[in-house]
Symmetry: C2
Subunit: 422 residues, 2 copies
C-alpha cells in the first residue's frame, strides 16, 4: 500500500488506533457511543447544511428515489443518534470465554472473543449507514474505515466529523472512526487491496459493488446481500398460510434482499393455490389501487392462470420489484433441486403442515435461513434478536445470514503453562 | 468458469456431490472413512509403484529434503490409513444446535452447524496431505477438491483412486473426493477463481503459494501458515523456564510455522539471560555435535554477548532455520509494540512470573495464540485437542489458529413459524 496517498495515511492511522480501542472496556465503549450520538444531535444544523449541498449537487443526475434516500431531515438525524444509543444497550460481544480446556499435560487453553481490528465498509448513497456502521464496529471493539458514495460525501463527512468530536470529548482517539476522502473507483480498489491494514471488508450495496469487492479484494471480504429467495408451497400446505406468507414476502417491501422472487408450487396443490394467488397479488391489489404483482409463469402454471410467460432468466433474477416468477414442481425434491441450482442461498421457505417434509426440506436446502411456515422477510438482525446489523452474509465463510456485532469479532487462544515445552 | 476444461468438469461433479454428502449421517461418514483407510492399505503396492515413478522423475530436479518428503514407504502408507481411522473417532462437528431462541412473536430460530460444501485445498509435495485433507473434509460433511504438487501427482492420483474405490464400496459417490489433473499454475488460478463452485479454499504450503491464493482468489480463501513467532522474556521471568522454552521453541523443529524466530528481552534481565541463552543455543549444541543457533543481535544485545549484528529485515523474516533474532526492549509495552509491528499474528509467548504483566500482554497482543510460560510450538490441532488439522489460520476472518474439523463447517438458521408474516 502506498502510504503517501490520503487513503494510505488514513489506513495507517486506523491500524494504529486499534491498539487504543482494544484496551477499552464495554463501559468506556458505551460512553463513547453515547457521546457520538449526542454530538450528532447537537450538530444537526451542520449535518443538514452539508446534506443540502449534497442534495443540490445530485439533483438531476440521480433518480428521485435516490434523492429521497440521500436526503436527511432533523427526524432522520435523531433516528441515527437513537440507533447508536440502542447499540449501547446490547451486551458486549467481547471478552466472552468461548471455550476453556485443560490438556492432559496441564496446559490451560482459553478461547476468547476479541475484535477483528480494522473493519472497512464500502457503501452507497444512504448517509445513515455512516453512523450505523461506525457504531456497530466500535461496539465490537473495532476501528472503522468508511467509504461512502460520492453523492453523499459532504453528508458523510459532516456525520463523521461530529462522531469524531464525540470521541474526542471522552478522550478516545478520533481515529476510531474514519472516512475515506477518495470517493473514486480507484480509491475503492486501493481499500480492497490494503492487505495488512484491513481485517474485514464488508460491501453494502448493489450486486455490482459486491461483485467488484469479491473479485478484486485481497483483504478478507464478506460477500453480502443479493437475495433470490424462494417460497415452496408443498402439497400439504395450509393454503391460507401460504397466501399470506407469499403476499408478505413479495409485497411488503419488494426492494430488499429478503423479499421473495420465486414461488415453487407442488403440482397437486397448484390448481387450487394459483387462482387464489393471482387474485391476491393482482386483482385485490388493483382493486385497492396498488401496483399489481406481475406473475411470470412456467408453461404448467400458464395452463392454470393468466400471466407473462417466464423466460429462463426470470428464475435467476433478483427483481427487487413487484414481479414474481412461478414454477410448478413435482415434489419437494424437485423444489430442493431448483433452489440448489438457482438460489443465492440467502433465505428460502417451505409452506407445509407435514413435519417430515419440512424437516427433509430444511436439512437439504443449503441457504443461510430456511423457513418453515414463515415469511423470508424475517431474515434481519433486528427480527433475529441480534440488534442492528451490518448486512446479510450470503457466503459460508465466517458468518452466514444477519451480521450483528458478534459477527464483527474473532477469537484468540490464550494458553497458560508453567514452563511447558513440547 | 469454463465447464469444458477438465477442472471445470471436476468442479461441477464436486458441487453436485455435495447434495448426496449433506444427507449422510456421522455413522455413514465414518464407514466411508474406514473404507477409504482400508482401501489405501490394501492398495499399498499400487501407491508405492506410482510413488516410485514420482521419485524417479523428480530426482535431480528437487532437493534431497524434498525427495524425502515425497517418498512413501509401506509404513508411511499405514500411517496415512491410521490417520484417517483416528479422524473417525472424533465427534461429528455437524448438526450441532449452536443456539435456539424463541422470539416474542413465537418464531423459533435454531442455528445449526452444517458443512461448507466444496472445500478446495492447494498443497505442495507431501502426498500424505492428500489423504489427510480428504478425510478431514469428509468428516465435516464436505466434498474435497485437491490440487497437489506436480512432483507428487502420480502418488496423489493413486491415493485418490484408492480412496474413491473405498467410497464406492460403501455405495457413496466417488465424487466426494476429487483430484485435479491440471497441475499447472493456470490450473491453480482456475481453481482460485471458481466462484460458485468452491465454498472455501485453503492453501497449504510456503509463503509464495499462500500469497498467490490471497491475491488471486475470488472464492473465499483462508490464509494459513507463515509464522514469525516471538518470545518475550519479561524482567519478572523465571530464567530457567525462559531458557527451556526458547530452546524448545527454536530448536525442536525449526522448519515449522510455530517455531520461534524472535526473542525480545527486557533490559533488566538481559545481562543475566543473554549469556545463558548463548551458552544453551550455541556452546551446548556445539559440544553435543548439533548445529548451533545463529544469534542475530540488536546493538544492545551485542554489548552483552557475541553474535551477528541483526539487520532490519531480520525482525521481519520467517527463518525456518537455526537462526534467532534477539532484541532488548524497555518494557512489556515495547515488546507488545514490536510484536504489533513485526508479527504475522500466529503465536507469541511471554515468560513472566508476574500475573498482571501476563494479563496485560495477553490482552493486548493480537495473535491467534498467546502463551504465558509455554512454548509457541503448542499451536497445533493435536496439541489443542482438536485432532488432526488442515493448517493454521493467520487471518481473523472465519477461524484463527489450528483448523480442525469444526472450522471446516458453517451454520444455517432454521426458523419455524405458524404462518408468521412481518
Amino acid at each position: 500500500m502506498d502510504a503517501l496517498t490520503t487513503t494510505g495515511k488514513i489506513l495507517r492511522r486506523a491500524k494504529d488506533a486499534t491498539k487504543a480501542i482494544i484496551a477499552l472496556d464495554d463501559a468506556e465503549i458505551n460512553r463513547a457511543l453515547c457521546a457520538m450520538a449526542d454530538a450528532i444531535e447537537d450538530s444537526a444544523d451542520e449535518i443538514l447544511s452539508a446534506n443540502e449541498e449534497d442534495v443540490e449537487a445530485a439533483r438531476g443526475s440521480i433518480s428521485e428515489v435516490m434523492i429521497d434516500r440521500l436526503k436527511l431531515t432533523r427526524e432522520r438525524i435523531s433516528g441515527m443518534a437513537n440507533g447508536i444509543r440502542e447499540i449501547t444497550a446490547l451486551p458486549s460481544p467481547l471478552g466472552v470465554e468461548l471455550e476453556r480446556r485443560v490438556r492432559p499435560n496441564g496446559l490451560e487453553i482459553k478461547k476468547i472473543s476479541v475484535p477483528m481490528g480494522v473493519i472497512a465498509i464500502i457503501y452507497e448513497s444512504r448517509p445513515n449507514v455512516t453512523s450505523d456502521a461506525a457504531a456497530l464496529a466500535l461496539k465490537s471493539g473495532n476501528v472503522s474505515v468508511l467509504r461512502g458514495g460520492k453523492e453523499a460525501y459532504r453528508s458523510s463527512a459532516a456525520i463523521v466529523r461530529t462522531m469524531r468530536r464525540g470521541l474526542a470529548s471522552c478522550g478516545i482517539t478520533e481515529d476510531a472512526v474514519n472516512l475515506l476522502e477518495d470517493t473514486t473507483r480507484a480509491g475503492a480498489y486501493e481499500l480492497m487491496k490494503a492487505s495488512g491494514y484491513v481485517d474485514l471488508l464488508i460491501p453494502r450495496g448493489g450486486a455490482g459493488l459486491i461483485r467488484a469487492c469479491v473479485e478484486n479484494a485481497t483483504v478478507p471480504c464478506l460477500e453480502t446481500g443479493t437475495g433470490i429467495c424462494h417460497i415452496y408451497v408443498d402439497k400439504d400446505a395450509d393454503i391460507k398460510k401460504a397466501l399470506a406468507i407469499i403476499e408478505n414476502a413479495k409485497t411488503s417491501r419488494p426492494s430488499v434482499c429478503n423479499a421473495a422472487e420465486v414461488c415453487l408450487v407442488h403440482r397437486d396443490i397448484a390448481p387450487k393455490l394459483l387462482p387464489e394467488l393471482r387474485s391476491i397479488l393482482v386483482d385485490k391489489r388493483l382493486a385497492e389501487g396498488k401496483a399489481p404483482v406481475e406473475l411470470r409463469l412456467c408453461p404448467e402454471a400458464q395452463r392454470i392462470i393468466d400471466g407473462t410467460p417466464a423466460s429462463k432468466s426470470d428464475f435467476d433474477t433478483e427483481f427487487l420489484d413487484y414481479i414474481l416468477a412461478v414454477r410448478v414442481v413435482d415434489s419437494p425434491d424437485a423444489a430442493i433441486e431448483h433452489i440448489s441450482e438457482h438460489s443465492t442461498h440467502h433465505s428460502e421457505a417451505i409452506i407445509t403442515e407435514n413435519a417430515d417434509t419440512a424437516e427433509h426440506f430444511s436439512a437439504r436446502v443449503d441457504s443461510a435461513a430456511v423457513y418453515v411456515n414463515a415469511s423470508t422477510r424475517f431474515t434481519d438482525g433486528g427480527e433475529f434478536g441480534l440488534g442492528c446489523e451490518m448486512g446479510i452474509s450470503t457466503q459460508k465463510m465466517h458468518a452466514r445470514g444477519p451480521l450483528g456485532i458478534r459477527e464483527l469479532t474473532t477469537y484468540k487462544y490464550i494458553i497458560t503453562g508453567n514452563g511447558h515445552i513440547r
